[in-house]
């Protein structure tokens, strides 16, 4: 079953465990600056929004890459960068409408979310359920369920 990251900003406390987990998985150290998921805080922290690559089906980055370094992992659905092929031209970073690809200044290639090979560590580390790893075809299920429960409560009064 294809799975997808689902982000619910209302549950995010901006603890950054996701950024720590991502950098540890990919770099072996704790370093939010090199995470592929970032949490954005607004209004003195009243709101926090985790954001990362959404793994577009027709990915702009993949189409833009002149050396075909970005390919689809058909097991996970992730658009993955092959660091051996990447020449660091950053055209993919320009093409991505969301800014979800960034240049890795140490390795001189681009870096993006690869869904950790099917076991995303950001979701595993999230203590509040703001980031979950669920059935890609039913990403709205829990939110719909919450509304259904609310509707039930309204109807039964």
């Amino acid at each position: 079953m294809e799975k997808s990251l689902v982000i619910d900003p209302a549950k995010c406390t901006s603890c950054l465990q996701c950024e720590l987990a991502c950098s540890f998985e990919h770099e072996g150290v704790f370093n939010p600056a090199r995470s592929r998921i970032w949490v954005f805080e607004l209004e003195h922290g009243a709101r926090a929004i985790p954001f990362t690559c959404t793994q577009c089906a027709e990915a702009w980055c993949m189409r833009a890459c002149p050396v075909e370094a970005i390919t689809v992992n058909h097991t996970t659905g992730a658009k993955e960068v092959d660091a051996d092929l990447c020449v660091g031209c950053k055209v993919c970073a320009i093409a991505c409408p969301f800014g979800a690809i960034n240049y890795d200044v140490e390795r001189h290639v681009v870096a993006k979310c690869d869904l950790c090979g099917g076991d995303p560590q950001c979701a595993a580390a999230c203590p509040t359920g703001a980031i979950t790893w669920v059935d890609a075809g039913q990403t709205g299920y829990e939110r719909m369920r919450a509304w259904a429960v609310g509707t039930d409560a309204a109807l039964s009064h």
Binding site: L16, F24, P32, A33, H44, G45
Partner: protein
């Protein structure tokens, strides 16, 4: 590993930044944060020096777990000689700033001397530069934060700054980071101001490594699971630290109107239930809860002041959410001054963060001023016409702003309660220890707290020991010395790791040992960690003795020693400090006059 093994030393007099290796012998003996910086302070300055003079050192310090995946790993501390107390000051903060300067590659930032003109430190990894702060001198913490991010075109900068209160030497000015987290107590912000240092703006991209990553990850997972399943932690997430206000009200340990009462009739209007209540117009004080860096507890509150409230109805600039009521703020702006207006409390809390002041000491000072006013010692002529009566919400918010901006009677309040009460000839009205005001626990009801307050190395403080369980069980002074001493040592250790004291609702020494041992070089046992805690406690004591403090300073105000509690479970009781203190000195291995004995010092390698 764990440590970055690097220090940035900033000589403000000469305008020079130099990088030094971390003294690893000290790191192994004092761990990090509170302990390690206390050692650097003891070795780096004369404890007799004027805290507001250039000889004082101002040290920002992280611990070996800061910046890692350990839960609550965002802690840093500011260690210096405190201008409120004349004792060693160690103020601990969360937010995101501490982890950031560790990611830049440093365990400690040591500021020495005094800049000729206002400056700020801009620190991005290896690049450290002191830049002119003339344009922001006189600005609030919030305006300084915005100015720095704009000036450097970098919204990712993490900033610690002082407001006007720190610039002008308000004795309890704090250092605010990330807009509403603070190294709060003992006046560390006034030291920063005395050095003409307005702010530190930092960004770090270097990361933090650990000794045994696989074992470390398992240890942090286990420890996080323990927190997740812990009932105390669950309450803290749901209700915030202000859950304590209901507990203290019920118990009768909630200091009210400068300790004249131990219960407050208005508590239902300012407790967590009041914060979570949705009003008919849809307004709700509490917006959400919020975590510091790495924290899986998230006890922090983000709140809104009602835009129709008199404090902000004509001030649209405050119609946004910001840091909400924590227990100590709710206590100090509520019962302690007799105010039950939740919006006034919340707004005064905003002002503390905006201008950089410790709410506990401000509330304590205002409470004493209110008592002086009601006694007729000070009048409207002194207060510029503001009626400083207990329960006057406007007096709270107006005086918070005037003190923050160092205007009018705010300049007197900026002295702190002890100096202000002495100035007006009523030193007995000061409710605190070693010049620092009490937190929200009355030590007639909580006897072990009284001993902890009297012996805390930074003056009255509720966070340097933990005898809650013993105090709840028994309202006498019996058997409090041993748990007080043991929890002081344990707390000194926890404060030196880089994680938050609030983890101790679920973590014992085992959890700390497992995480430290996987992160740091060497063999770490529970015994070694607790010995480090005891070493730190005695080192801090040595600093204070060298600074001129004596056993006579280990005392409490007469109101707690002679006036019986007017209600609650301890009605009719006073704090039995003398009895506890003698036993405490013995348990500590100190002489009768409160000095660590030679054997104790030798045993701890001091």
């Amino acid at each position: 590993m764990g440590w970055q093994r690097k220090i940035l030393r900033v000589n403000l007099t000469e305008g020079r930044c130099t990088v030094e290796p971390l003294n690893m012998d000290w790191a192994f003996a004092y761990l990090g944060e509170r302990g390690l910086a206390s050692k650097y302070l003891m070795e780096g300055m004369d404890p007799k020096a004027d805290p507001m003079g250039p000889e004082n050192l101002l040290i920002f310090v992280t611990g070996p777990l800061t910046g890692t995946m350990a839960s609550t790993s965002g802690r840093y501390a500011v260690v210096t000689k405190g201008p409120l107390t004349g004792a060693i000051a160690c103020s601990n903060s969360g937010g995101k700033f501490g982890a950031e300067f560790k990611f830049a590659g440093y365990d400690l930032l040591i500021f020495e001397g005094r800049a000729a003109n206002p400056v700020y430190l801009h620190l991005v990894d290896d690049q450290a530069e002191l830049l002119p702060a003339d344009e922001i001198w006189g600005s609030s913490v919030w305006d300084t934060d915005a100015w720095l991010k704009s000036r450097h075109q970098d919204s990712r900068l993490k900033i610690a700054a002082i407001g006007v209160a720190g610039e002008r030497g308000v004795r309890y000015a704090c250092i605010v980071n990330d807009l509403h987290r603070a190294a709060g107590r003992s006046g560390v912000g006034a030291v920063m101001g005395s050095k003409n240092l307005k702010a530190i703006a930092v960004r770090g991209t270097r990361g933090v490594g650990v000794k045994d990553p696989k074992r470390f990850m398992q240890a942090t997972r286990d420890a996080k699971a323990a927190l997740r399943d812990n009932r105390g932690r669950q309450e803290m997430t749901k209700l915030g630290t202000n859950a304590m206000i209901d507990a203290m009200q019920e118990f009768g340990g909630l200091p009210t109107r400068n300790f004249h009462a131990v219960q407050f009739e208005g508590v239902e209007k300012i407790n967590p239930r009041a914060m979570m209540r949705t009003h008919v117009d849809g307004h709700r004080n509490l917006v959400t809860n919020k975590a510091c860096f790495g924290c899986t507890i998230a006890c922090g509150r983000i709140a809104h002041v009602d835009p129709h409230h008199f404090t902000i109805v004509n001030h649209k600039e405050y119609w946004h959410a910001s840091g909400g009521l924590e227990y100590e703020t709710a206590y100090a702006f509520g019962p302690l001054v007799g105010v039950d207006d939740i919006d006034a409390l919340t707004f005064a809390g905003y002002l503390m963060n905006e201008h950089g002041m410790d709410p506990i000491s401000f509330g304590g000072t205002l409470a004493a001023a209110m008592e002086l006013y009601e006694m007729g010692v000070i009048t409207d002529a002194d207060t510029d016409g503001v009626a400083l009566r207990f329960g006057n919400a406007e007096a709270l918010t107006v005086m918070a702003e005037r003190t923050g901006k160092f205007e009018g009677f705010g300049q007197i309040l900026g002295l702190g309660s002890k100096r202000m009460c002495e100035k007006y000839g009523h030193p007995e009205l000061f409710m605190g220890v070693k010049g620092q005001e009490f937190a929200g626990y009355d030590s007639r009801a909580l006897q072990g707290m009284g001993l902890g307050y009297a012996t805390s190395n930074r003056g009255a403080c509720h966070l340097k020991h933990d005898t809650f369980a013993e105090d709840m069980e028994d309202q006498s002074g019996n058997g409090k010395a041993v748990p007080c001493k043991e929890s002081q040592d344990r707390t000194a250790m926890v404060d030196s790791t880089g994680v938050c004291l609030f983890t101790t609702s679920a973590w014992g020494v085992d959890e700390f040992r497992a995480q430290i041992d996987a992160a740091c070089e060497g063999e770490w046992t529970n015994e070694r960690l607790l010995e480090i805690g005891e070493r730190i406690w005695n080192l801090e004591r040595q600093f204070n003795l060298a600074a001129g403090l004596t056993a006579a300073d280990d005392t409490l105000p007469k109101r707690l020693l002679e006036v019986p509690a007017p209600g609650g479970v301890a009605a009719g009781k006073v704090c039995e400090l003398d009895k506890m203190l003698n036993e405490y000195y013995q348990v500590r291995g100190w002489t009768d006059d409160g000095r660590p004995s030679n054997e104790t010092l030798a045993r701890l390698g001091l």
